[in-house]
Structure formats: C-alpha cells, structure tokens
Symmetry: C2
Subunit: 218 residues, 2 copies
DNA sequence: TCCTCGTCAAGAGCACTGCTCTCGATCCGT
DNA sequence: ACGGATCGAGAGCAGTGCTCTTGACGAGGA
C-alpha cells in the first residue's frame, strides 16, 4: 500500500472543497459563498471542512490565487508567436475578455472591490502580474520604443525590466485599459451605451497597441 | 404645530439611518454592513428600521445612489469654465480621483463588483452618467472633432447627443480610462508598480485629453 | 502482534445575521 | 373625542462563521 494513501485522500477532499466552492462562487457570487453549504454539498459537516481550510477568508484567498492563475494561463495560451504583433496583442486582449465573460464572479473577485481589512496575501502578488508579463513580451519583441509619446518616469525600475524604459509607462497604461474596459463591460456600465461591444473592444485594443509602439499592420 | 411634524421626524430618523450606514460602510466595508448594528447605533431595535428600509439590499441601493450623486457633484464642482480646456479636463479627473480616495468604500460600491442577482435599480442609471456628462461638456466646448483618430461607430446615438459622433467613442474610452485608472490605484494593483501616482494620473489624463481632441496647451 | 499516537468526521453550542410577525402605544385627521 | 394609521419593541425562525469536545479509525513503533 502506498505510504501516501492518506495524503492523497486528503488532497482529493481538498480539491472537492475548492471545486464546490468555485461552483457556488460562480452560481451565487462571493457574498453568498457559505462554508456550511459547500460542506453540505461535499457531504461533510461544517466543522470537518475546517480541517482543510482555516476560515472562509482563506477559502476566498485560494479561489483568488486560482483565478489569477487561470486568467494568466488564458493570456499566455492565447499568444501565438507565429502571428503578427498586432494579431498577438489582440488575441491576448480577447482571451482575457473571454475568460472574464466565462468566469464573471472569479473576475470580480480578483479585479473588483477588495474586502477592507483583507490584505492581499503575498501568494497572490506574482500571480497577479502574469497577464502584464504576456503583454510586455509582445512589446519587447515587436515594439518600437521610438514610436511612443513622451511619458514621465513614474514606474519602478524593477517592474518589467525587459521593457525599454520609455515604453514601460504606456505599457502600464495599456494594462490598466485592458482591465478597465473588461470591467466596465462586465459590471454593466456599458449597458445602453456601447452597442457593438466586440468591435468596441477590438478598437480599444488596437489603439492601445499603437500607444505602446506596435507597428501598424497585422 | 406644523402639520409635517411627524413627516419631519420620519425624515430625520431616515437620515440618521443612512448616515450611520454610510459610516459603517466606510469603516468596515460593504460586506460587514449589518442592519442590526446600524439599528443598535441609531438607538432602535432591528425590526424598527424595517419601517424605513425594506431590506439590506435597499439600504445598499440608497447608498449607491448617494455615492453616484456625490461623485457626480464633485466632478461638476471641479469644472471651472474660466480655465483652459486641458486645465478643466485635468481638474475634473483629479476631483474624481480625490473623491475616490476620500470615500474608497463608496467608490467600491459603485464601481466595484456588483452583487449577482442584484439588478441595478433604475434610479441609479441617470446618476451613474453624471461624470461622463461633465467630461462631454468640456469636449463639446473645446474639442476639435477633426483631431481624433478613426473609430468605429459603436455607441448608441442617444448617448451624449451633444457630442459630435466621431468624438463620442474616444470620449467613452476616456471615461473608461478615468475609472479604470482610479480603480486600479484604489484597489492596490499599482502597489510596487507605479511610484509617483500623482504624476502618473496626470499623464494619463493628459493623454486622454489629446485622444478626445482637446487642443494642446493649457 | 499489540498498542499508542495522530488524524479525521461528527455533533453541540455560541454569537451573530436578515427578516417576519404580533402586540401595545402613540399620534393625526375627522 | 374617537378611530385608524403609524411606529417601536419583542419574540422567533432559519441561516451563518467558528470553536470545542467526543468518538472512530488507520499507520507506525515496541
């Protein structure tokens, strides 16, 4: 009998709890996520799940980390090195938007209102930057640093060090614009305002591509 | 004795409830806002406040409306018709940012994650647009419609009808950018990324001003 | 082989929440 | 002066997060 039998069982119920929690998050939203109800659904009593998660907050934190990873993975997978710079850029933007539409509650969890008194745990920090890194990768490969406007130097030197310094500020602006646009659409601010949201989004992506110095064309 | 004595008393406790609710919202966040605890603080029993608000959701809705009004008012008050176009633009952007920093929880309430199953009540819709209207007012007064890039026509015709059609899409983009940037800063995404947030914000505002066709200079 | 130790699920319980219902008291217009 | 509407209080229900204790089970050491 493998010595890790008990450890594997533990990992399995741990997964079951996380999965059920994510299901409830998607179905009812973060506010309605109840530890007791995931316990019920998973076939345990509520006190038993406390052997696996320390608190409701910790459960949410795990979901946050998983969400950051998932959206980062979606972005990384969407980039196709064989395509033209702007096609790559657009593909990544679209992938982020598509992921957000498929997982609105998770998206809200990571890019929505943070809970006060809830310091973002350190384990979320690296995961949060993955989409930005993908975007930066396209810029360093195909961007023309001479083609960007003049921006003040207001970004830390150790952020995206692979990027030429004049490009890093517009890159941060573009990164902000991506999530700002997705969030506004997802949270309903474009209701009764923007008609063709696909075309609108692509147009914003294209303008952002120009602002970071990607060449015109494909 | 004025005939409206009882009505005035009602209005007063109504105000007291709202005020206490806003205090708790600011202090503990929306998730921790409890009807029972505002009742306690206001000196009533919980069932009594149900004579004034139908539910916790309705309490939140009233706070949302008040927040939209407050941020709209801040934006309107910041515009100084005597100043130059870009100075007006910058002043409005800064006022929105300042209001958000002073009222982070309220900002999160209106521009953060919406509660699922919670349809934005109709009374919030007009209030939500006020900042956009202020921005549009500056553009119609001083913008050069010929100075904006080519954008697809993807915005409803009855939105910001005072704006020349080619300008309306970049105006929506700028509006998105304002709240996207404020939100990213407020929700901590710029932590360890942007150093001088004031300068960064002003630079974004200026770039947005250019994109909607405001003339260079003051 | 037996026996102990650590792990786990279960149950009871506490303090809290939103919300409903009923019951007196009070106020207002007729 | 009275009758109806209005209002506050209290009890109560179902649900929550979280803690503590109790009992069962399996794995490793004597």
């Amino acid at each position: 009998m493998p010595p890790g039998a008990r450890a594997r069982a533990r990992a399995e119920t741990s997964r079951a709890i996380l999965d059920e929690a994510r299901r409830q998050l998607a179905r009812e939203g973060a506010a309605a996520l109840s530890l007791r109800s995931v316990a019920r659904e998973v076939g345990m009593v509520s006190s038993a799940v406390y052997r696996y998660v320390a608190s409701r907050d910790e459960l949410l934190t795990r979901l946050i980390v998983e969400a950051y990873d998932a959206i980062g993975e979606a972005a990384e997978g969407a980039r196709d090195d064989g395509a033209g710079p702007r096609a790559q850029w657009r593909a990544v933007w679209r992938a982020v938007r598509a992921w957000a539409h498929e997982h609105p509650a998770e998206y809200g969890l990571i890019y929505g209102t943070p809970v006060p008194g809830y310091a973002a745990p350190t384990e979320t920090i690296p995961a949060a930057g993955r989409v930005g890194v993908v975007l930066a990768g396209i810029v360093v490969a195909h961007g023309d640093p001479g083609a960007v406007g003049g921006w003040p130097s207001v970004v830390r030197d150790d952020v995206l060090p692979e990027l030429a310094r004049p490009v890093v500020v517009p890159a941060v602006v573009a990164w902000t614009q991506l999530f700002g646009t997705v969030g506004f659409e997802l949270f309903g601010q474009y209701e009764n305002v923007v008609t063709d949201r696909d075309a609108y989004f692509d147009a914003v992506a294209d303008a952002a591509a120009t602002s970071v110095g990607l060449p015109a064309g494909r």
